[in-house]
């Protein structure tokens, strides 16, 4: 089930993804501040705890809307509930790497590489039950530009400061 991504990306999706990156900057900023008062483990633990409460509040507020839109969906496999484990391990690996000779910039650059390689493999074979996608030449060119720009910022721009 490989679908070529031939048409252009929906601008709404593009803006949503770009804005999500902005949320990540804010999140890293606040969690980093909490980590300086406590430690990396506490910061992540507290963020997951307050996040659980925030998610419950949001779900309660949105419940009337959701109830109207609920349809019959296929059941999720048990492993689909374990994404949080992966996130928790990421925190430990990152805090270890940041305190190694790699420092922040090296950790970010290698993490970027890991993410890009994984996403290519995930799309190619449709890993974890999501649709497979095949990139075209334009997708690859866009990827090269964004990776190059990010690497410049991480290695020679803000990440290096």
């Amino acid at each position: 089930m490989t679908s070529p991504s031939g048409h252009r990306l929906n601008p709404l999706h593009l803006l949503a993804a770009f804005g999500t990156g902005g949320l990540l900057t804010l999140m890293v900023h606040f969690n980093g501040e909490l980590g300086r008062y406590g430690n990396a483990l506490f910061s992540s633990w507290a963020a997951h705890g307050t996040g659980t409460v925030a998610a419950l509040v949001l779900l309660a507020v949105l419940f009337p809307w959701r109830a109207r839109n609920a349809g019959v969906k296929p059941r999720a496999p048990l492993w689909a509930y374990l994404g949080g484990i992966s996130g928790a391990v990421t925190v430990m690996l990152t805090s270890f790497a940041v305190n190694s000779p790699l420092a922040l910039s090296g950790t970010l650059a290698l993490g970027l590489m890991g993410q890009v390689v994984f996403s290519i493999v995930a799309d190619r074979w449709g890993l974890f039950g999501l649709p497979a996608r095949r990139p075209d030449r334009r997708d690859l060119a866009a990827m090269a530009l964004i990776v190059a720009g990010s690497a410049l910022i991480i290695l020679f721009g803000r990440g290096n400061a």
Partner: protein, 140 residues
């Protein structure tokens, strides 16, 4: 030195796995419910870890300003948005555009805080990222 390099790469892979798995869960539930499970399960795992190695609640935690505790709530929206996006535009597009948004907003945050180290490289990097984004919008 090899171990930190491997673990830093693995951290990036795990970010992708987490988004892919949460994206799959969102197909059967909803992005917000997927984000909820991500946070509950992560909280459980970190609680077990913290209780076994100690130092879960460090002494300085009470001194942190209230806004330092906002990261978790932002994270809920971040994970929900990532789950919603990855099922629609794929892993590569989601990863690259989120990274691009993170880089550009990070440079903006630095400028707002008066940090101007590496400004030339940062501006050039932002230009490349925006060019890459524009390319995804070109009709063929």
């Amino acid at each position: 030195m090899t171990l930190p390099i491997l673990l830093a790469c693995l951290a990036g892979v795990l970010v992708g796995i987490s988004r892919q798995v949460n994206g799959r869960l969102s197909l059967s539930t909803s992005p917000l419910i997927a984000s909820f499970w991500n946070h509950v399960v992560g909280f459980g795992a970190l609680t077990i870890l913290g209780l076994s190695i100690g130092g879960l609640i460090p002494a300085g935690a009470a001194d942190a300003p209230w806004h330092a505790y906002l990261g978790g709530s932002i994270g809920v929206v971040f994970v929900a948005a990532g789950s919603w996006l990855v099922a629609r535009i794929g892993a590569v597009n989601t990863a690259l555009l989120v990274i691009g948004g993170q880089m550009v907003s990070g440079v903006a945050l630095d400028l707002l805080q008066g940090v101007s180290a590496g400004l030339l490289a940062s501006v050039l990097g932002v230009a490349l990222i925006l060019a890459g984004m524009a390319l995804t919008q070109r009709r063929r």
